[in-house]
Amino acid sequence: MSEQKTPVAERHPSPASSHSAPGGRTSGRNLLHGSGARSLGLVIALAALVAIGLITSGERFLAVENILTILRHASIIGVISIGITFVITAGGIDLSVGSVMGLTTVVASLASVQLAATQSTWLVMVLVALLVGGIAGLVNGVIIAYGNVVAFIATLAMLVAARGLAELISGRRTLIVNNTDFLDFMRADFLGVPVLVWIFALVAAAGWFLLNRTTFGRRTVAIGGNIEASRLAGVKVKRHLVYLYVLAGLAAGIAGLMMMGRTTAGTSTHGLLYELDAIAAVVVGGTLLIGGRGTIMGTVLGVLIFSTLTNVFTQNNMDTSVQALAKGLIIVVAVLLQQRFAARNERRATAKPLKV
């Protein structure tokens, strides 16, 4: 029986902890045995990439400067990925995050917004970006939850529409961000680490907490696991779906601000195809595309794997086409491995094989 219990204990907090210490702490174990164990494969993959980087570029690869480059590169797509991890965990999808991010950069860089920011505080720009992202998410969520439109279609429509709106507003021109307070903040280092990376870390930590420690996270997982059972148990499913898309929109807004900081510009072309990179990172990280299981740690590792890969290729001046090919391979291999793992896990847990 002990053999049989092992995978279950890996998946969920160990039963022993709940027996011996009913009021005690299970969180540490949860972290190690739960998503931690699942993420082991990802850590190994990341380590392999680092090893390749070391072999091909030597010391240069491990230089602090280069590591910060990798992290900075990961930060923007990382924030977007954390947002859609929630949507995907609940069994949804958001294809619009990339273009919504583009839209937020345009609106937050408008002359009038920057003027208002100069007259009061640069936080006006932050507020505007979050508002734009949040409203786009709200529209997505209401159409999906109350209009009963399939998430794929609703957010595909938003992908197209938000890009169009961004082009209309900007007149297809690049808007320069010249609010020095804003740029100073976004381009600063704190304790030797760029603010962009700090933002990513904070968003990831907040996301982990929200998904694993709150009723919001529990509802998200429950809806993804079985939307009908959740509804019949009294969970306010529609309202929660709206919250989830708003959350993804807010993450796109934060990512937009980071993008403006990094490029000192707002343009409708920002965030092109980011939704696909983000979905790839989430899925490689181990979040199930059909919902019911989500891992923030996995998403972070997924993002890091892709940005390290890019870095390795750039360091060696290799063709970006080969890089795209490698990315595709990684996605397929990661998902294949996860399915194997999931199948084995389930088989052991239920002591019955999958339907043949």
């Binding site: 049989q4 709940s18 079985n226 847990a349 019955k352």
Partner: protein, 506 residues
């Protein structure tokens, strides 16, 4: 049947063993099936019936034991190989493709075609003759299967089994999705099959059915044969229950406690209507009372309680819980006011199969274990644990995924959910579907105990006997209308069926 006794068996199984990881699912099963007989296999949930079926259908390969087919030792390692021999299996979950036609489903995997081009007319004609063989010549081969009733989909599944040169059909609880009339039809079809020399291995929980259709019975318990090839007519019911459970089950339904004369009305349904489904219904349930809704499948009884619960939005009427009117069409309002539903489809409507047991138990209440949205999982786990222990859920490990539990224990999860909630009104839709005999008795006792504690309960069951045995009062329902209301003591199964037959005629 006496001449069959001398016949050599079509299928003989000796000492079959199968192991999954650490679990020994089968530890020596013997079975012999003769041509033209209905051989029933009985056993509680988890006894190993499913594993046995899957081994015989080629989905699993056994570790030990032998399988003789027409006297020859055989080994098959795929469902295709079993089909090749002439063994077809009808699984409990219908395995038809809704978007394809009847004929396309029947010949799925061995289409009538030349070089990949389908012969639609020829397939339809062949399908028609197969359906005629099953006494369902009226079923059009070009009809889309998704539009058929569950009973007719089952006929399609059976026709598919026959479309190959099948000598043995394994039926895994074929009656689970049927109402009483449809079950009789299924039996007629099975008799026609056996008259043609085809053997049927029939798996069921329902003793009465086995008495009607079976020739011989084999019983398995904990992966082992406890009896093999008993004659149905010579084996008393009590003996079968003893073989399955290892104990005597005398009186399945616990005695009713008398309802207090001043028990307050807990649930009041007034003129509730859902157009296209049921006419206005009005009734009340008092605290501590069990109201049964008796009716056949399709009588709209599930729709009635789903509308009470707010899962469907009523077109008229109102529902009050303890005098407080509910918002129509809002499940969360109903739950908040004190209604709980244990839905008909446990797996698809009730449980999150991959989530741990305790989270399934607290699905309606986890918000209570949170302060400012922050979950206190140890308090949550403790509350779940208390109910897991009280209901004797097995396995009792709160971290097991709900998927790993048997039907009876999954049902207990749903009861535990509402026990944690402390809801004053419970709606139970088919609380014992797919639950074995032993666990059934436990669930009956539990429901009775809840009522004795003051919970108002509505019970729905396809088994009229169950509704009558469990409820204090019964509403007989047919085609979305309440035909009669009666004290459960004053009506019997015949009375209910009589009403339904008359009601349909009118």
């Amino acid at each position: 049947m006496s001449e069959q006794d001398q016949a050599s068996p079509l299928l003989e199984v000796r000492g079959l063993s199968k192991r999954f990881a650490a679990v020994q699912a089968l530890k020596g099963v013997d079975l012999d099936v003769r041509a033209g007989e209905v051989h029933c296999v009985m056993g509680q949930n988890g006894a190993g019936k499913s594993t046995l079926i899957k081994t015989l259908s080629g989905a699993h390969r056994p570790e030990e034991g032998e399988i003789l087919w027409e006297g020859r030792a055989v080994e098959f390692d795929s469902p295709a190989a079993a089909l090749e021999l002439g063994i077809a299996t009808m699984y409990q979950e219908l395995d038809v493709v809704g978007g394809l036609t009847v004929a396309e489903n029947i010949f799925l995997g061995h289409e009538r075609a030349t070089g990949g081009v389908l012969h639609v007319k020829r397939a339809n004609a062949a399908a028609r003759s197969l359906l005629q063989r099953l006494g369902h010549g009226g079923l059009s081969p070009s009809r889309e299967v998704g539009s058929l009733s569950a009973a007719n989909q089952q006929i399609v599944s059976m026709a598919r089994a026959l479309s190959r040169d099948t000598k043995l059909i394994i039926m895994d609880e074929p009656s689970a999705i049927l109402d009483s009339g449809e079950v009789q039809n299924l039996f007629r079809v099975i008799r026609e099959l056996t008259a043609q020399g085809i053997a049927v291995v029939y798996i069921s929980h329902r003793l009465e059915e086995i008495r009607q259709i079976g020739d011989r019975i084999s019983v398995i318990k904990d992966g082992r044969s406890t009896a093999s090839g008993l004659h149905v007519t010579e084996t008393p019911k009590a003996e079968l229950i003893r073989l399955m459970t290892g104990r005597e089950v005398a009186n399945v339904f616990p005695p009713r406690a008398p309802l207090a004369a001043d028990a307050p009305v807990a649930l009041e349904v007034d003129g509730l209507e859902l157009k296209g489904h049921f006419e206005p219904v009005s009734f009340t349930v008092r605290a501590g009372e069990i109201l049964g809704l008796a009716g056949l499948v399709g009588s709209q009884r599930s729709e009635i309680i789903e509308t009470i619960y707010g899962a469907r939005k009523a077109t008229a009427g109102r529902v009050c819980v303890n005098g407080k009117r509910l918002t129509p069409g809002s499940v969360s309002a109903a739950v908040g006011a004190g209604l709980g539903l244990s839905p008909e489809e446990r797996k698809s409507q009730g449980l999150i199969l991959d989530e741990p047991l305790y989270r399934n138990v607290t699905l309606s209440t986890f918000g209570r274990f949170a302060r400012a949205g922050l979950l206190d999982e140890s308090a949550e786990r403790q509350a779940a644990r208390a109910q897991i222990d009280a209901l004797e859920l097995r396995p009792a490990d709160p971290n097991r995924p709900a998927r790993a539990l048997s039907g009876g224990n999954q049902q207990k999860i749903l009861l535990a959910r509402w026990l944690v909630h402390g809801t004053p009104v419970l709606l139970l839709d088919e609380p014992t579907r797919g639950v074995d005999v032993g666990a059934r008795a436990e669930i009956y006792t539990l429901i009775r105990r809840l009522a004795a504690g003051g919970t108002a309960i509505i019970v729905i069951s396809s088994e009229i006997e169950e509704v009558l045995g469990l409820a204090d009062r019964v509403l007989v329902i047919d085609d979305g209308r309440v035909l009669a209301e009666s004290d459960a003591n004053e009506i019997d199964e015949h009375g209910v069926l009589d009403l339904v037959m008359k009601g349909s005629a009118a």
